[in-house]
Symmetry: C2
Subunit: 101 residues, 2 copies
DNA sequence: TTTCTCCGTAAGTCATGACTTACATATGGA
DNA sequence: TCCATATGTAAGTCATGACTTACGGAGAAA
């Protein structure tokens, strides 16, 4: 559930594609595998990584398993880069002041 | 300069550490290598990846090369997750409406 | 209970990438 | 010019991870 785990999860192209697909709404494993150039077990393995990173969540619906985005993990990433942006601007401002001094 | 490239860049622990270090302000390659458990050439290679992903920028200062965050790439990531968040909420809302219908 | 669907896991293969040492290049000063 | 500093690049090694096929398990319907 660390940031490094989240970035590692999004680094693999197939996993990023799954992530983007779930942006449109929940989907089953089979539905995700259709439209992707890898086997269904591969998608299963990717979903496991995404879940462990806190980016997706699982809901059982009969014999199917519906995956959806994990809003908590998503909010964590959004907040991370919001804060990062503020810090970067602050550091830039300080570096300018140090240069003038 | 794609999002995939940026996530791949941040996926390696050492590169994420460099990224976090530059959050505090610019630094030379040697300064970055000090405090990291890898050799200086390794840091150089990591900086090359980060630069190609649009996350850091380079400024030559005498014989040194000062690396700093690339505000454009940073803003792109921040905006990406802002939009992603909005889309995810919208998709969630639609999925609830579809369930009720 | 049998059967079908849907999915996760195990085991093995293969490519990729993160690291090292050695070498090349460029800047600044004596 | 000659040397020292700071960094990038080349080449090679080794671990990791992304993929495959084969198999196992659990729920729904006959």
């Amino acid at each position: 559930m660390t940031y490094g785990e989240k970035f590692e999860a999004l680094a693999a192209p197939i996993r990023l594609a799954v992530f983007e697909r779930l942006r449109q709404g929940p989907a089953s494993v089979g539905a995700l595998a259709d439209g992707l150039p890898v086997s269904r077990p591969a998608v299963s393995q990717h979903l496991k990584v995404l879940k462990q990173a806190g980016l997706v969540a699982e809901t059982r619906q009969g014999v199917k398993r519906i995956y959806r985005l994990d809003t908590e993990g998503l909010a964590a990433l959004r907040d991370y880069f919001d804060r990062f942006w503020d810090d970067a601007l602050g550091a830039y401002k300080r570096s300018l002041e140090a240069r003038d001094a």
